[in-house]
Symmetry: C2
Subunit: 325 residues, 2 copies
Amino acid sequence: MSSATAIAHPNIALIKYWGNRDQRLRLPVNGSISFNLGSLSTRTRVTFDAARGEDAFILNGRPVHGEGLARVAALLDIVRDMAGLSQRAEVHSENDFPTGAGIASSAAAFAALALASSAAAGLDLSEAERSRLARLGSGSASRSVPGGFVEWQAGDSDETSYAFSIAPPDHWALTDCIAVVSSVHKPTGSTQGHVLADTSPLQAARVADAPRRLDLCRRAVLARDFEALAAVSEQDSDIMHAVMMTSAPPLFYWQPATLRVMQSVRAWRGGGLPVCYTIDAGPNVHVICPQDAALRVSERLKALEGVERVLTATVGGPARLVVDR
Amino acid sequence: MSSATAIAHPNIALIKYWGNRDQRLRLPVNGSISFNLGSLSTRTRVTFDAARGEDAFILNGRPVHGEGLARVAALLDIVRDMAGLSQRAEVHSENDFPTGAGIASSAAAFAALALASSAAAGLDLSEAERSRLARLGSGSASRSVPGGFVEWQAGDSDETSYAFSIAPPDHWALTDCIAVVSSVHKPTGSTQGHVLADTSPLQAARVADAPRRLDLCRRAVLARDFEALAAVSEQDSDIMHAVMMTSAPPLFYWQPATLRVMQSVRAWRGGGLPVCYTIDAGPNVHVICPQDAALRVSERLKALEGVERVLTATVGGPARLVVDR
């Protein structure tokens, strides 16, 4: 038996990933930029065991079967191939953030799984190799491998599509105030959504314009220019949702309260508060602000109709191995 | 003194007009398709009078000055040029639909003005010439000149950019149930909005894809295929708003209640009710359905949070001269 445990954080994309040029390898059609959410994490222990007949995946204490287990087992197969290993594994994973609150957990999950499983299998992978491995489980997981502010270069092959830090966590004290909004519908998952991206008449224009947005965002992060970051990240989020809403079938992730938060954030910024929004494939609104404004922003968000709760996260570090509890 | 009175209806675009290739001539970047809203109308009387020193515009009993008067006078100048006339005019215009309810009135206003002013000036214009004249006052007014279901061909010059009927009013008994939604902000007017269209990274893709959407919509109208009409008109509306939301500065016309109506309409259609939405440059939702479903649709709309009232309109006829009251 060989075992390893890793912790990884979810990340919030400032320039979004939507659509693959290769669905199987999860090679994205455009690069993306994110930062890790340090206050939220997934802890995953992988134990390879010669006595096991099949892989098992236990999430927050409950065995997962079907599609969830299949995605974990597929990543383990890749690791086994790399390590020349045949043993099945038991994977225990726990999120310290509320499930069902609509925080996308697959990025943290596959970043932690890539690190723990490769370590348990005796592989000594570089950060880029771990990022590539995580990408094969969930595209955005590639960005949860390096620390701080991260860029995932699209690349054009398995070898060239990985993420790296563009600035460490302490480069810029930003906070993500996540406005959790009630949702009556279970949204379409990202994996299915990426397949629909090309059905929108707007996706090609979104992709063609991505280098401009990536450049603006990278510069804004490096210069700690909040106004510039706000403009480009809101536009990028709106562009992704424009593609989603105009795909066939259309994907609408915004709820009335989502729109209320967006409007409020723009109004607050107009009134001088440094704050902007970005929205993933769900109804929650990630409201980004400098850390010293986070308390005010959280209080204002909680007062809005339709906001059920607010989670906050500062900029987090890389996925890392930890000593087992 | 010579006088003429005309009545015209607003129209609701199923394929939208957004962006000009020539701002002054209001030559649109893409064609559009609409139907006239027969139950709503504007009545306009134009009186040329040698004794008048300047043009006057009285809207719903109140004199209009500034920008509103200037746009009317500019159209009158064109008519005077065409007719070799120098007399100033008094223009009386009345809407039979509530002002301030967010129903765009400029289409009906300039269609009625084009007809009444050209007739009062002794011009005998063809329908295409009246449509071109109305277009110079307000782009979408070109579509309120012909009757029923109307296509405005973009054209590439003043001579070739006009609208014509593709089917008469009784071709298809549709109803527009206009869900009037409360708005705290006065939205940016279309005339200013058209100028911003090209600042969106998505506008070129919207325009490039327009022939496909026009073709789908034209076929759906001619075949009275409601499902096809619903799919293309919702997508076209969402695409226009995608461009608006991603322009610089962004234009957000949707309110939380707008989104609630959109979601409800999609859910009702999923449940078998023939109904779809389309949204102009404002927060109101035009909910289109076959006439025999209009009562049910109106009742459901009125029950939604944030819907202040519902106006209904059936498919209307062309702009026409009437005997003065």
